[in-house]
């Protein structure tokens, strides 16, 4: 590694650890630890949302996807995000914020019942630990490509750094370091686009080479019979189900909005994040296309981004880009760890033990953060054997996103959503999604069909099961916001 790159890497790591420790002085109870004492401003939250999301979607995996299918990969950032982010900003965030909850499972517990809260928290926590493992593996893969570190060394170093600031500083540390990480990420992205286009002989030459050798790589939508991303699946499964379920129901994403200083800051943060999200393909999709144009010799698509960093950028700038990748993935891990610790502490342990003492929750929350991080580190080395990062995450998500979205939407807009109906729908909806997945159906269609089933089941159950009274629904439905 070039000494300049090394200096940038070390400087970055020291900075985020110091920022995390400084913010830990403001943490006195669970409210400070999990919601930053409701002090965060809109642009910090917005940047943090992007930091959490970019990595969750897979910085490395998305570049690999773009290498395989082209600009259609960016649908996950455009139609597969923006409409849902607008919905979250204008409808769901005000709803959660006024309900005064710490988490989405807590909202579901108020709107439905405690078993729904418990079950949704367990499902989300299991997925989150898995996602943390995936992100750790992705970082380790990058470190191996770039610095020749063994996978396990990369996992241990990353886990230690993230643990140092997220255990001590809680959500405030996570949000501020995320914001810093996203700024670095965008700087790195802009540099890689500029140098990449220059190396390819200019923008016209870049597009000509790309579309000449790969005719569909500059088309936003792929044919309806495409095996992975058929356009009807993208519209029905991604835009209508997976994306709203994620942006309106992901604890890791929404937790920082619940830590906003006002409801307007919470809503504006998501809208601001949507502007940044529109530009994210430049950072995570473009490198995949660039690897293709420059005829990179790589074993599998997920190597596209590390290849570009190693072979296209000069010393100093490659260190910056390397940090950008690590920063993106770290911000996913820290957010996942913090939000999962919250769900286990309050929505699982709190419900089972009927204990909501803020001082105890702070202590348990910090221990949970450590345990979850160690769990992800233990799981990470095995991810490589399971296939492409991005596809893996999306496949698992589609199993419970349909039922979860049905609960959120009907919960917000219809009195027909009842406590018992909610529990029944969540259990049977996930089961049906699993069965459909077992038939070999495309995951996007699985998500759409399980959502349709769940909406129908939840609505019909309202005819036979007891509804919540108007007083209870006052702060839990959109018409009252």
């Amino acid at each position: 590694m070039h000494p300049l790159d090394l200096a940038i890497v070390v400087g970055y790591l020291l900075t985020i650890v110091v920022v995390g420790f400084r913010l830990s002085k403001n943490v006195h109870n669970a409210h400070d630890y999990f919601l930053a004492g409701r002090s965060l401003t809109w642009w910090i939250i917005g940047l943090s949302i992007i930091g959490t999301n970019v990595s969750a979607n897979g910085y490395v995996g998305a570049a690999g996807g773009a290498y395989k299918v082209g600009i259609a990969q960016a649908n996950f950032e455009w139609i597969g995000a923006i409409p849902a982010m607008i919905l979250a900003s204008l409808v769901f965030i005000p709803l959660y914020w006024r309900a005064g909850v710490y988490s989405i499972p807590e909202y579901l517990g108020l709107r439905y019942n405690q078993p729904v809260r418990l079950l949704s928290a367990v499902i989300a926590s299991v997925f989150a630990i898995f996602a943390i493992g995936v992100s750790l593996w992705a970082i380790a893969l990058t470190l191996q490509t770039y610095m020749d570190w063994p996978i396990w060394v990369g996992i241990v170093v990353t886990g230690t750094v993230v643990g140092l600031y997220s255990i001590s500083g809680g959500l405030a540390a996570v949000a501020f370091t995320d914001a810093l990480q996203v700024i670095i990420m965008f700087l790195g992205g802009v540099v890689i686009v500029a140098i990449g286009i220059s190396d390819a002989g200019g923008a016209a030459s870049f597009t000509q080479t790309l579309s000449g050798e790969n005719p569909t790589h500059l088309q936003a939508f792929l044919p309806a019979d495409h095996p992975e991303f058929p356009w009807p699946g993208v519209m029905l499964g991604l835009a209508i189900v997976l994306s709203p379920a994620y942006w309106c129901g992901s604890q890791a994403i929404l937790q920082r909005t619940l830590g906003a200083r006002t409801q307007w800051d919470a809503s504006a943060s998501m809208m601001f994040a949507a502007f940044a999200k529109t530009l994210v393909p430049l950072l995570i999709v473009f490198p995949g296309l660039l690897a293709l144009v420059l005829h990179a010799q790589i074993e599998y698509p997920d190597m596209a981004l590390p290849w570009v960093v190693k072979n296209v950028l000069p010393p100093g700038l490659s260190g910056l880009m390397f940090i950008a990748i690590i920063a993106a993935l770290q911000s996913s891990i820290d957010s996942g760890v913090n939000s999962t610790a919250l769900m286990i502490t309050r929505d699982i342990r709190g419900v089972l033990k009927q204990d909501q003492d803020p001082a105890t929750e702070l202590r348990i929350g910090r221990w949970m953060t450590l345990i979850i991080l160690l769990g992800g580190m233990g799981f990470a080395p095995f991810i490589g054997e399971l296939g492409g990062i991005y596809f893996l995450i999306q496949t698992l998500l589609s199993l419970f996103q349909g039922p979860m979205l049905a609960l959120l939407l009907l919960g917000a807009f219809s009195r027909m959503a009842t406590p018992r109906g909610g529990l029944f729908t969540l259990i049977t909806g996930v089961a049906i999604a699993g069965i459909l997945m077992g038939t070999g159906m495309n995951m996007l269609y699985v998500a759409f069909l399980s959502f349709c089933y769940s909406v129908l089941a939840l609505y019909l159950a309202g005819f036979w099961t007891e509804k919540l009274d108007d007083e209870s629904l006052k702060k839990l439905m959109y018409r009252h916001v």
Binding site: I82, W264, T278
Partner: protein, 68 residues
């Protein structure tokens, strides 16, 4: 279901995307201004998130028109 959908032409996708975004833009303006800026420190027009949404949607329409 997959078989029937597989026969749909790809040119429909961009058209449906445009319709979807226009519908969202209209829906945004059904939300009253006062509920958007309810607890904002000031009620200046730049805080009206419906216009933020409209700008976002315009950017999306541009993107999907370029990458047809």
């Amino acid at each position: 279901m997959s078989e029937q959908l597989a026969a749909l032409p790809v040119s429909w996708a961009n058209g449906l995307t445009v319709v979807m975004f226009i519908a969202i833009a209209v829906a945004c303006f059904l939300i009253p201004f006062r509920s958007i800026v309810a607890d904002a420190p000031t009620h200046r027009h730049w805080r009206d998130l419906r216009w933020w949404a409209l700008l976002l949607i315009t950017m999306q329409l541009g993107i999907y028109l370029i990458f047809q």
